[in-house]
Point group: C2
Chain length 599, copies 2
């Protein structure tokens, strides 16, 4: 099947009707990003996703990337699609005009990134990885470095990577071994092995620019001795000329569960020449600059899989005839009724739909905050947006990718045994999106970031900044009596959220393991509440539109039904999460390591 | 890695210390199945699983089955392993001596089936599929049919299949189209296409015997017009001689997410000669005979994946160094501490451990019931066992396979990004076990079987038969005060289970969709309670052993710790399931089909 349609109307609903993006763009001075222009760009992006990327998704998975003698060949059609992407000007959309970009808002690009990833997760990673590299050089590179690299990266003829992980160090970057020795000419020689480097080597661009973390010879141990370097595959001249080959080679590519069209590379630096980016030993700080957008980007990949799985399952559920409906014959001319009539199939479809639409609202809200942090002239507004973003980023990353596991699993389950068969595309979605809870910081890492670093680390202040907004909103709709039950539920959840935070902080003061013991439940609990807040707002807007008689009433009625489903059957998952969190750390920590043993 | 160790001690604990299998076997007249003999057989089975099957698991996945011109070649080593299995006498273990079997109990075989499937899910399906075929012919075949087929099947030189599914009909067998026309000689000519036929064609045995459901020319429509036939790949003489080829061909094999070493075949019957098994139009009734054991067998596949994923994750968690423990340095000589010290890693490992061990106790309890239904001379005992089995079978099938999705997902998650890489084996476990919630009746089908057919269909009686046992047990341990909290929790859950059943029945009297709307939550809810009952019993036995000072105290302490984890963090999942169930059908059924549409 491999059916995919970019959810333009859903995105525009969130941007225009829910979150006031027209004013948002105008306020930030994005004068080109008018509603008409946004729609025109979306329409082109949708065509590209549907007609160029989706058709090479299944074949890319079947074919995979090939490695031979250090050369990586991407699946048939990937290179050509990338060429079209470059020609369409997509690579530079959000970057400054002085580097050849179009200076459009971050959010505009990110909304469409969801669709590209829905259509072809593997392919979308190649241009996606360039963004981190561009951001690094834009923020922290010298003018000379920017001249050497940025025009080509923004134009798309060169692509970029981020080289962090080493075999013995993943999350714990303090254990980093890769070395950088200073040369006489001010450059550095890098030596070491990096693994899991997405887009580390491929045939889609003329050159590959690696951002590499490494240690200087007398760097302090741990994370305080990490510096950042830019190391190209081919040396670059001062104006971005492509010169001779650098000592950077791809040792192999990984055989993985999914995203098989994405080359996951072992990259060897054998005295490769590179340049220091930013200050010595402050490499991790430079990287934190765009950690939020990178993590939101991974969350979007999860969202993209939820959406695609929903679309596939829905099409099948309307088509597949099996059994008669429990409530009476629905398809008298056929031998059986479409399975969408069966309550449990609807439960699965509505779970997918509620996650896709609710998570999208949260994601587009987070993108709006990123826009402010990047483009606002108002320092207070920036600080305020940064506070909310600090809290929401780990939730976006982990909640959108964890729920994607459930949504893609239901994508298969709605198909029954057919879901397991490659040709329907459902199993590929599940395999591809499985990486999303692991890379760019596992769910466990996001959960510790949220609970320990953000919430407890700010003594609860970052939580309050966001929950004040939610409580204000609930107060503001008090006169809409039809929403009182949901609004009260959110309001009570907010109080409970604070209470639980307080409980955990008290327990953690005595036993620091309490933070880790509660963390993932806490993150998921937070996610259900936050997305519930967006479902409440979507329902209120939808009812207003119905009352006003504007727009497509079926679209708004669907929003109200889905909100009801969310409040009845998904938000209620907080009940078990609370029980688990409140049970404390002892049930995890009391068992001796040896007692886990297999006998 | 591909590490696997058969959990012999765990199985023996459940059989001997928890469920009184020694007396059970003696009561049923299995005089050969003494504890010593059981241990000796287990020891051989463990070696076979660990040394023969596990080593060809990853290679079998990478290589897959090959189809060419109707011929299917299984992965390297599969045929040889099967030959060793046949020579070891494993194929006939539970079958009557008159067909060349060893007449040992069903349960004995099933306990080991878990290990074979842990070691190599794909491979284990080939001998597994023969069982249904053998059971059918043993129960319903004529003496002539038994002579033609059973010796070879029991001896293993021939293998069998079950041919049910067709392209347009999966769960809804009433839509079956395959035709059987009577021949003059009393045989039938079968014409039609079957899909998803596991072990339908392969190179491991000399002949393949298909049990096929089809319609006679003037059969009533629906499930009441389905008859059962035996149709061999090669015709058979009266004493089991292999003769010329029958008109049965393999049209292709499926490309699937997992179990790639298992050939999933399209089988075409083009006027193939077969023989009626049992009575005309009563085919489905014949199949229900061993539905329980087939579904428990699929549940065991889920359990096997949970166990294997736990073993892999545990080994990695002890080995991988990353960060220091929150509670202080644990590995001062190393650069970081093993990740098993991190609370969230323990949460994942304990979830796997609690599911593997709790689910195994439930499974071995269900096997005991199957033994009684098969071998008891006491009709009352048989009826009683059948009642409990009717209730528990869909729970075993669906709960053990659904929790396997979580356990195998954690298997990957504990590894971080490495979990996504093929060489560690974790992603294969997740892919292989994904089929288990879909084949042999999806989770949705099991849930309707449990709630509508078994519980409501018996007006609650089948539920009461089991819950009386649980309540009796809770009463019997009332004096053990240390277990009062857990015992009271189970007791209250049992009351709630009845109350919820009552609620659903009342709602369903008005709206039959209420059954489907609650069904999967109801099944999972039931599963958590039932497994909680077994964790309670295991904890009580473990404490008794510690008090007595017999056996390995660390083993029993681990049981108590894991029980605590189960009661604190897994049984509490019933809270959200109750909320979802009690929310009723409207939040699923009120949305119009068109409102699901993608815009």
């Amino acid at each position: 099947m491999q059916y995919f349609k970019a959810p333009q109307k859903e995105a525009l609903f969130v941007m225009n009707e829910l979150l006031g993006y027209e004013k948002h763009y105008a306020d930030l001075g994005f004068t080109d990003a008018t509603p008409d222009m946004v729609e025109a760009i979306f329409s082109e992006a949708a065509k590209f996703a549907e007609n160029v990327l989706a058709p090479i998704n299944a074949s890319g998975d079947a074919e995979g990337c090939k490695w031979e003698d250090g050369v990586v060949t991407t699946p048939t059609g990937f290179k050509d699609a990338y060429q079209q992407y470059v020609e369409g000007g997509w690579t530079g959309m959000t970057h400054p005009e002085k580097f050849g970009g179009q200076a459009l808002p971050y959010s505009l690009n990110s909304v469409m990134a969801e669709w590209f990833s829905s259509a072809n997760h593997s392919w979308a990673m190649y241009p996606g990885l360039s963004q981190g590299c561009i951001e690094t050089l834009k923020e922290h590179g010298t003018e000379a470095q920017q001249k050497m690299f940025l025009h080509n990266l923004v134009g798309g003829s060169w692509t970029g990577t981020m080289c962090l992980t080493e075999p013995h160090c993943g999350s714990d970057l303090g254990m980093l071994k890769c070395k950088a020795e200073p040369n006489d000419d001010g450059s550095y020689s890098l030596t070491g092995t990096k693994i899991f480097i997405s887009a580390g080597e491929h045939d889609m661009s003329e050159n590959i620019v690696h951002i590499v973390i490494a240690r200087l010879p007398d760097a302090p141990s741990g994370t305080k001795g990490i510096s950042l370097f830019v190391v190209p595959k081919f040396h670059a001249g001062p104006e971005g000329e492509k010169l001779d080959r650098n000592a950077v080679t791809c040792g192999s590519i990984e055989h993985k569960m999914g995203i098989k069209g994405s080359a996951t590379c072992v990259i060897n630096f054998d005295g490769a020449k590179g340049y220091l980016v930013g200050t010595e030993n402050r490499g991790l700080n430079c990287m934190f600059t765009f950690m939020n957008s990178a993590r939101i980007g991974t969350g979007l990949e999860g969202l993209s899989a939820s959406e695609a799985a929903f679309q596939g399952a829905l099409a099948y559920a309307k088509d597949r005839l099996q059994f008669r409906a429990m409530t009476g014959v629905k398809n008298p001319d056929g031998p059986a009724d479409p399975i969408i009539n069966h309550p449990d199939v609807r439960r699965m479809l509505l779970t997918q739909k509620a996650f896709a639409e609710g998570n999208r609202a949260l994601a587009i809200y987070a993108m709006k905050l990123v826009d402010v942090t990047q483009a606002s002239q108002d320092e207070d507004a920036k600080t305020f947006a940064n506070s909310k973003l600090a809290l929401l980023t780990p939730i976006v990353k982990a909640f959108l990718t964890e729920t994607a596991q459930e949504s893609t699993s239901y994508g298969m389950q709605v198909f029954g045994g057919h879901g397991f068969i490659a040709e329907w595309g459902m199993e590929q979605l599940a395999r591809d999106t499985r990486i999303c809870t692991m890379y760019e910081g596992t769910t466990g890492i996001q959960a510790i970031d949220l609970l320990a670093r953000k919430v407890v680390g700010s003594n609860g202040k970052l939580l309050t900044v966001f929950t004040n907004e939610v409580k204000e909103y609930c107060k503001s709709i008090r006169d809409k009596s039809q929403f009182n039950a949901w609004s009260n539920s959110i309001d009570k959840h907010i109080d409970e959220w604070h209470q639980i935070t307080e409980d955990i902080m008290q327990r953690a003061a005595k036993n620091p393991a309490e933070l880790g013991a509660a963390s993932v439940d806490y993150l998921m609990y937070s996610g259900y509440i936050v997305v519930g807040y967006f479902w409440l707002q979507m329902a209120v807007v939808a009812q207003q539109k119905l009352d006003d008689g504007t727009g497509d009433p079926e679209f708004y009625k669907a929003k109200l039904h889905t909100a009801k489903f969310y409040f009845d059957r998904l938000l209620t998952r907080t009940r078990s999460l609370v029980s688990s969190m409140e049970s404390g750390a002892d049930n995890l920590m009391d068992m001796e390591e040896e007692q886990f043993n297999i006998v």
